[in-house]
Amino acid sequence: MSDERTMMEGQSVVLKNQASHTLWRRIMRHKSIYLVASLSFIYFIIFRYVPIWNAQIAFRDFQALSGVVKSPWVGLKNFSDFVHSYYFWELIRNTVLYSVGKMLFSVPAAVFLAVALYECRLYWLRKTVQTMAYLPHFLSWVIMYAILLAILSPSSGILNDIIKAFGGEPISFMTDTKSFPWIVILSDTWKETGWSAIIFLAALMGIDPSLFEAAAVEGASAWQRVRYITLPAIKPVIVVVVLLKLGTVLDAGFNQIFMLYSLPVYSVADIIDTWIYRQGILEFRFGLATAVGLFKGVFGLLLLVVSNRLIKRYTGNGLY
């Protein structure tokens, strides 16, 4: 009995030796890869992990002279300051409303554009629309601001020209709290719909053509084809896109809002990210701004994990 055991142990030691031997050989074979990838690794440690370490100032009363580690510890004070402040609900409301509002407009618009492009038989029209629709994705929000001025400006914008032509008073859309949220949502839809349509278009290209042939044989009209074949075929992609957007609901588009907003519309324009910028960088309230950033980071992580779970359950494939 004991002999048997020693034998088995001996065997496993030999096996282990062999395993570590081949592991070592595998490592050595890839040593040049480790060498070049180590630079990227160091980059990640410095530019992605040091900030995570720095985030501890959310729990400190940060003083520039004392630095990250030596500033006095204040526990959850910064967090409770934020949660109990009057702007807390306003920021959360604006952030969620902009994210969800953009999604409600851009997802149906992108699905519609993708289906229309897929069904269109005029090659030149399809190509021209595709080229023009993808382009705005590559324009920065600084450029978008100039384009919006050309349309909305009270003195030289075309929209106000039309209003004036009908005898109305020009409206200062960009500084009006009623119109500002619509500008944010519609300008984002204008800029990103084409780009978001790509993923739906890719899904449409994957539809089995024999389905359409069968439908034609059965005498289905084009409307029925869209209703019963095309839309059901991209339904899973729509669900995944919506879940993905829900996972990043706290990112309402800093660059856009920051470029478009101004003091008169802060109450309806301010989102978590713009507030963090003003408090942290302009007012030097580093501890408070970091706490809010960390609050957003942790909730963002939770939302991503949940949406990934749902995507995994729905499609069998997660994102990571």
Partner: protein, 294 residues
């Protein structure tokens, strides 16, 4: 796809609606850009509404706004800075992204899972603006062009797109080189990279567009007026009511302020518009790759 079958009336209506909708969408996409473009060419003595301006005959256009901007030092220096950020940024980004993507694509690499985890954690959890700001200023990058591109030099998303491209290259190619005694680095440099020109170009341009457009990092870290890139200058031009700081005083009388604002935007967008056809060729493929999980 069903063109051999005679169209019924309802099908013809269907195609009429689809084509009509696309023409409408095209108009919605073109009108804002056209109105900005005609605004930039509007002469100083123009009388009439903005709508009239959109239909002004091209031979009555004035290039005064463009000449005023191109003749000014601050615009040229900002453009120079932006080009440097573009090229230095793309090279730096690819230098860090390619080896990482390649390492992640080798299924037999010991420690691959760990490396994957290290790359993924910051993707899922972002500690926010201030901790990053403290790092960049602590590294002494304030008032350097590197502050614009270095914090964003490795995008996890781009890395994963590149990784799936590497994974789809035929395994036999790498295997045969290994049998011939090539090291992994040689395989990467001699076999993988020459085959990867489309993805290098696509990802490089993704990074480039991002760096070219960035105004936030420049605003955070660059105070020195000589180092300002175009987006910062544009933003200042767009938000200011007077133009004295940006164009020579004598140019002021020749072009209206709003024309100068619109012209500055088109000048800044030119490199993007030149690069766009090249990007368009590849980005659809790239985006589809990105939708495949890593």
């Amino acid at each position: 796809m069903t063109s051999t079958i005679r169209l019924t009336r309802s099908d013809r209506l269907f195609h009429f609606c689809i084509d009509g909708a696309l023409v409408l969408i095209l108009a919605l996409l073109i009108i804002p850009i056209w109105s900005t473009l005609t605004l930039s060419f509007r002469p100083n003595d123009f009388i009439g509404s903005a709508l009239d301006g959109m239909f002004l005959a091209p031979w009555k256009w004035s290039t005064a706004a463009y000449r005023a901007l191109l003749g000014h030092r601050s615009f040229l220096s900002a453009a120079g800075n932006s080009f440097r950020i573009f090229f230095e940024g793309v090279i730096t980004a690819l230098f860090f992204t390619v080896p990482l993507a390649y390492a992640l694509s080798i299924k037999t690499l010991p420690g691959r899972k760990l490396l994957y985890g290290i790359v993924l954690v910051p993707y899922l959890f972002n500690p926010g603006l201030v901790p990053n700001y403290l790092l960049v200023t602590k590294l002494g990058l304030s008032n350097t062009l590197a502050a614009v591109f270095l914090p964003g030099a490795v995008s996890v998303y781009n890395t994963l797109i590149m990784k799936s491209f590497f994974e789809e290259l035929p395994e036999e190619l790498k295997e045969s080189a290994r049998i011939d005694g090539a090291s992994e680095l040689t395989v990467l440099l001699r076999i993988i990279l020459p085959l990867s020109k489309p993805i290098l170009l696509t990802i490089g341009l993704y990074y480039g567009v991002h760096f070219w457009n960035d105004f936030f990092n420049a605003m955070l870290y660059i105070n020195d007026a000589k180092l300002q890139p175009l987006p910062i200058l544009l933003r200042n031009i767009l938000l200011s009511s007077g133009m004295n700081e940006y164009v020579e005083a004598n140019a002021f009388g020749e072009a209206p302020i709003y024309a100068i604002k619109a012209a500055s935007v088109f000048l800044a967008a030119i490199p993007m518009l030149v690069a766009y056809p090249f990007i368009q060729k590849y980005f659809v493929k790239g985006t589809m790759l990105g939708s495949i999980k890593g």
